[in-house]
């Protein structure tokens, strides 16, 4: 558990950040220049807050009033940098053991063999970093940080320097980390795709402060936060379970609190927990359930809120069971339907609008 309440002035830029990160993955998301990396550096002890407190598992790492400022090496945090920062003069094994060796055996919480096996780097142990691919380097860097038995793993855009193929190769490893090794992760990113794939908790950073934080699904479905989550990304994220596949028609069924969703065929196993992104522009609203319609997902819902997004666009939030759906309709449509909170409606979602990339495994 990380608790942070710090202020720092950097030139003309003021950071004033309050944040707490529990188990699982907490994503710190924001535009570049919003202060994300400064936050993670302050946690690691590589940058010094002007004032405030930083606490991990109840242990004070920094407290300006009490004059506490632990050196980076005394903080017991793992840091995976954007660039791998592997030691070029040491072999992969030497790099992995670097932090582990500095710990007495009784304080080591991670096993070398398990880390190496899970990251799939057994065959690289005798190589030098210079002879690894970008993805391999970053895997070794993750292993090195993990083997220092950190109380929290800090990751600063670990995929940003990689090409899309390497990113796709590394994402599943990172997704497994928090669960497999029981280490909370603070993950800095400006990529919504990564955040949606990895994060349990989301903290949105803007102008040097945390503008909002909470469970990913509730933040993503909140039109009020759209300036921060990004215009292109407008849409809800819902938690679901793969309920079944229909190979004959090439579709999959996802069960969520509020009904069943039919989507294009997914490769995921039945029972897999997934996170589905539904773009606000892809959802339509019908007052009465339409009959004989091509749209496969017709979900009974009730209107939670209606608000103008701009002059021509209206944001509507629907409750579908316990799940929130975010819908964008034209001002013209709203003028004719006159949606109001509390109204019973139907949400219409074409199966084809939910692409494979919108369904991500969270196991």
């Amino acid at each position: 558990m990380l608790e942070l309440d710090v202020r720092r002035r950097q030139g003309d830029f003021n950071l004033d950040v309050r944040l707490s990160a529990g188990p699982g993955v907490t994503a710190l998301y924001g535009r570049s220049g919003s202060g994300k990396t400064s936050v993670i550096n302050m946690v690691a002890g590589l940058a010094r807050p002007d004032e405030g407190v930083i606490r991990v598992d109840g242990r004070m790492l920094f407290d300006s009033r009490a004059g506490i400022d632990l050196a980076p090496e005394a903080r017991r945090l793992g840091y995976v940098f954007q660039e791998h920062r592997l030691f070029p003069h040491l072999s992969v094994r030497g790099n992995l053991e670097f932090g582990e060796r500095l710990l007495p055996g009784s304080e080591r919480t991670q096993s070398f063999d398990k880390v190496v096996q899970l990251l799939g780097i057994e065959h690289l142990l005798d190589r030098r970093p210079a002879r690894l691919s970008g993805g391999e380097k970053q895997r070794v860097a993750i292993g090195r940080a993990l083997l220092a038995s950190p109380r929290i793993l800090l990751m600063d855009e670990p995929l940003a320097a990689l090409d899309p193929a390497r990113k796709a190769e590394l994402l599943p490893f990172i997704a497994q980390l928090a669960r497999q090794f029981g280490v909370p992760i603070l993950y800095v990113s400006h990529s919504m795709d990564e955040v949606l794939r990895l994060a349990d908790t989301l903290a949105l950073m803007d102008g040097g402060a945390v503008a909002a934080s909470g469970p990913l699904e509730s933040l993503m479905g909140d039109p009020g936060l759209r300036p921060l989550t990004g215009r292109y990304e407008a849409g809800a994220v819902i938690a679901a379970v793969v309920a079944g596949h229909d190979a004959g028609f090439g579709i999959s069924r996802l069960a969520f609190d509020g009904g069943t969703l039919i989507v294009g065929r997914s490769e995921l196993a039945v029972g897999a927990k997934v996170r589905v992104r539904i773009h606000a522009r892809d959802v339509a609203i019908a007052i009465e359930a339409p009959e004989r319609v091509s749209i496969r997902n017709v979900l009974p819902a009730s209107v939670v809120s209606v608000a103008a997004a701009d002059a021509f666009l209206v944001d509507v939030v629907l409750a579908c069971g316990a799940t929130r759906l975010w819908v964008q309709i034209t001002a013209l449509a709203q003028a004719q339907l006159n949606l109001m909170p509390g109204m019973r409606v139907h949400a219409l979602i074409k199966a084809l609008t939910i692409a494979r990339g919108d369904v991500a495994s969270v196991d």
């Binding site: 050196a71 793992g78 840091y79 920062r85 030691f87 070029p88 003069h89 670097f98 932090g99 220092a148």
Partner: protein
């Protein structure tokens, strides 16, 4: 067959001895100075930098005379060294080593500083986050990474020491078996009639030793680089 005369063996032995100790004794200070210049910012840094580089631009005779004044038997520091530790530098091979060290120091510091400035501080930060304290980080990360530059500094310093003449002859004079190194022996030979052949032989020896040092440094630097590249 090229056999060395006793005089040549003695001069060569002295040159190697003096140069070895000049480099060995000043290396830790060289690394220290390089670190201070590369990593710290303090008022008066330019002055410190200038003082370290002074022997590079001063006539060596001036340096030698300065050493004589300060470290000679009656010099401020020299008298103290003699009275308290029984150490005499003036007119001994140890004094020759000191003179060589002072002259070679700026070259060594420059090379090491350059190497230190080339070390990615991000790697040091990474080491710190992995639980490694600053001193240990220097030994296990910084120093190995700047090793090629340290090597260059050592060879440069060694070569400069081998060729040291002006400061040495001023500070410790020309004493056979004690301070008569290769360049001084060579100079002495050129001052007596009929010394041409012997002088030429010393020239050849000097060239061979210097060349060997350069080749050795190149070889070592390549090996270190290859290690880093895996």
């Amino acid at each position: 067959m090229f056999t060395l005369t006793p005089l040549e063996i003695e001069a060569l032995r002295l040159s190697l001895l003096v140069s070895f100790w000049a480099v060995a004794a000043s290396l830790p200070f060289g690394v220290g100075c390089a670190w201070v210049l590369a990593r710290l910012d303090f008022p008066g840094k330019a002055v410190v930098d200038g003082i370290i580089h002074l022997p590079l631009v001063l006539p060596p005779v001036v340096v030698g005379y300065g050493l004589l004044v300060v470290l000679g038997r009656r010099g401020v520091v020299g008298a103290w060294l003699h009275d308290w530790f029984g150490i005499t530098l003036a007119f001994t091979w140890k004094g020759a080593a000191v003179a060589s060290a002072v002259i070679a120091f700026p070259l060594m510091v420059r090379a090491i500083r350059l190497a230190l400035e080339g070390v990615d501080r991000g790697l040091e930060q990474a080491a710190r986050t992995l639980g490694c304290g600053p001193v240990r980080t220097f030994w296990s990360v910084t120093l190995p990474l700047m090793l090629p530059g340290v090597l260059t500094g050592v060879i440069l310093g060694f070569a400069r020491s081998l060729s040291e003449f002006g400061a040495t002859i001023t500070f410790v004079s020309n004493i056979p078996g004690e301070t008569r190194t290769l360049p001084i022996a060579l100079y002495a030979l050129t001052q007596v009639p009929g010394g041409d052949e012997a002088a030429f032989r010393l020239c050849v020896i000097s060239v061979v030793v210097a060349f060997a040092a350069l080749l050795a440094s190149e070889f070592l630097a390549r090996r270190v680089q290859a290690r880093l590249k895996g």
